[in-house]
């Protein structure tokens, strides 16, 4: 019963933050909420938009869950997302935009695999630097984010630029290479299904396999892990690589499902938005489906809000940040009350 009350506090708290934020930015609250609602879940098109917005966040969020569970603060989801895209774009160059293109099915899977590999490689680099040179992952992943973004800019106006060499974008992928859509009129694509499958897979990995158990143990109780002769370095690198692979997959799904081409605006902060998703999902893969949906709904609804305010998606950042602070604050406050010494 107490647990139920605790859980029901989340939506109430979120609603309060939502109302307060709308009021603070002088958006009429009732109309604002109405617009958010109709934009997020009003009709089946809204549902589809919400699903599409939740997908990259769910995947990057899962990436954060794996790394953070392993006690390694990967905040480089953004860079891993982008490098995934660059790898995918490179494969597309050779698989699609040549005189002998591969069969569409092969090209799609090839691009997707390249994206996963790109994200994993970028994350592995940070993990390796941490183990070998003691470079804090928090700092190295942030720096790698900026480097990745500039690298993307270079690729889009250099080696990967579209054929006419007019705009800093890559060639748009033909429809048959894109991920299949669930319905002709809607945005929702097969990537949504892939993301949910990834959540189930990561749940199995973390809670039903030895490798996942090692990752959790190293993160939760390093001394016990050491006592049991578990190689912490190996487990952390593995967590980092899985984490980066998920962020790369997010990039691939965004590339193959939505944008179809790369440009400097390829990642709409998806890597960063994974962090609140993971935290508010309690670092649990299945709960992340829920938290990603909530924030996806907010983002989809915020597009509808543009009628009243030009703030758009930036409002959602504020709501996310306040939600995280509230969650962390309440949790920390509870933890510090009855400090029972063992």
């Amino acid at each position: 019963m107490k647990r139920l009350v605790g859980i029901s506090l989340y939506p109430i708290g979120l609603l309060l933050i939502l109302v307060a934020t709308l009021a603070f930015f002088k958006v009429p609250v009732r109309d604002g909420l109405g617009l958010l609602y109709s934009g997020a879940v009003g009709d089946r098109f809204a549902w589809s938009r919400m699903a599409v917005k939740s997908t990259p966040m769910l995947l990057t969020g899962l990436g954060m869950v794996v790394a953070w569970r392993g006690g390694i603060y990967n905040i480089g989801g953004e860079g891993q997302f982008i490098v995934g895209g660059i790898f995918g774009g490179t494969v597309a160059r050779f698989a699609v935009f040549t005189s002998h293109p591969w069969s569409p099915w092969l090209a799609t899977s090839g691009i997707l695999v390249a994206c996963v590999a790109g994200g994993a490689a970028w994350a592995w680099l940070a993990g390796w630097l941490y183990l070998r040179r003691g470079v804090e992952v928090v700092i190295s992943t942030i720096l790698l984010n900026f480097i990745a973004l500039q690298f993307l800019g270079y690729c889009c106006s250099g080696p990967l630029q579209e054929k006419a060499k007019q705009v800093p974008l890559t060639d748009a992928l033909p429809d048959e290479v894109m991920l299949p859509k669930l319905s002709r009129q809607m945005d929702a694509h097969f990537g949504v299904v892939l993301a949910i499958m990834a959540a189930l897979l990561i749940y199995t990995y973390l809670f039903r396999t030895r490798a996942g158990f090692r990752v959790r143990l190293v993160g939760e109780n390093p001394r016990m892990a050491r006592a049991n002769r578990i190689d912490a370095g190996r487990a952390k690198i593995q967590a980092m690589v899985v984490s980066g692979a998920l962020c790369g997959l997010a990039g691939g799904i965004e590339y193959l499902g939505m944008s179809g081409q790369l440009g400097t605006g390829f990642s709409q902060q998806w890597g960063f938005l994974g962090i609140p998703v993971a935290l508010l999902g309690g670092l649990h893969p299945l709960a992340c489906i829920l938290s990603a949906s909530v924030f996806g709904a907010l983002l989809a609804g915020a597009e509808n809000l543009a009628r009243y305010t030009p703030t758009g998606s930036t409002l959602v950042y504020v709501i996310q940040a306040v939600a995280v602070l509230g969650y962390v604050g309440i949790k920390a406050y509870r933890d510090r009350l009855p400090a029972v010494e063992a």
């Binding site: 720096l143 480097i147 500039q150 305010t309 030009p310 703030t311 940040a321 602070l325 920390a332």
Partner: protein, 286 residues
């Protein structure tokens, strides 16, 4: 003149890094530094625009950055929450808040905001002088005063500070206040001195570079200052190469400070200079 423009390029990172040194010596890593700088930039610009007085703008910038840094402190010091989590949230909050306010106030019009800048004498302004003075001042504060010793003990082994009768919470919050002051100066420097305007997310990762420079500078103000000069130099290269007519991809030049910072961290590693209790939450016995 050449050297003065280099100082200008380096000042935002240098200022933020000097403040962050004090914070990190107390055992706290202020991941929210970027956010504090950003609110400083925005509210400095806003106040300056409203009052036409850059000095009031400077005051507002410091106040805004100070408040956000202390908010970070309430969560990480008093509530002993995780510093990376709170810092990330603070950055997201600052980015969302300043962008949303900026868009709702100036959005759509796309007008170029121009504000009176802080006065300067031959390119030397007061914040720059303050920065140069603060390098030995912070060194003296941390190495030659009782307060500095107490703060460093909080960062090295907080239990010992508490056993000696100090309040770890109080000392860490005081260190954060100094960090917030410098973050405000750094943010104000961007909007009030360099740009004379504001742009969304105008700090562009300089806060993170400053954190990297603290590690690079081995937690010593003079080394961190030199490290910031190096970043400023890399930053200025993109314009220099253009004047020479060298065809280097400009993206490489923009990425240069980050690559330099990373390369340096790879070379020096973590070492033993880091405060022993850095980033570890501490709960006082009560």
């Amino acid at each position: 003149m050449e050297f003065i423009s280099l100082l200008q390029y380096s000042a935002p990172v240098a200022l933020a890094a000097i403040g962050e040194i004090v914070v990190q010596q107390s055992g706290v890593i202020d991941i929210g530094l970027e956010g504090s700088m950003l609110v400083g930039s925005y509210f400095g610009m806003l106040t300056c625009l409203a009052t036409h007085n850059p000095w009031l703008g400077l005051g507002a910038a410091i106040l805004a950055a100070l408040l956000l840094t202390l908010l970070f402190g309430v969560f990480t010091v008093l509530l002993a929450a995780d510093q990376v989590v709170v810092g990330t949230a603070v950055n997201l909050f600052a980015m969302g808040l300043t962008s949303a306010l900026f868009r709702s106030k100036f959005g759509g019009t796309m007008q170029l905001i121009s504000i009176p800048r802080l006065g300067a004498y031959h390119g030397i302004d007061l914040i720059m002088v303050g920065m140069l003075v603060s390098v030995p001042a912070v060194w003296y504060l941390m190495r030659r005063t009782a307060w500095g010793l107490a703060v460093r003990s909080c960062g090295e082994y907080p239990k010992s500070a508490e056993a000696a009768g100090f309040s770890v919470y109080k000392l860490r919050l005081q260190a954060l206040a100094i960090g917030g002051l410098f973050a405000g100066l750094s943010g104000a420097y961007l909007s009030l001195v360099i740009a004379g305007s504001f742009a969304e997310n105008m700090t562009a990762g300089r806060g993170f570079v400053a954190i990297a420079m603290v590690t690079f500078g081995r937690w010593k103000p003079h080394f961190a200052f030199l490290a910031a000069l190096l970043v400023g130099f890399a930053d200025s290269l993109q314009y220099r190469f253009q004047t020479y007519g060298w065809h280097v991809p400009f993206q490489l030049m923009i990425a240069m400070p980050y690559i330099v910072a990373l390369a340096v961290l790879v070379l020096v590693g973590k070492g033993t200079a880091a405060p022993g209790a850095l980033a570890q939450p501490y709960r006082m016995d009560k």
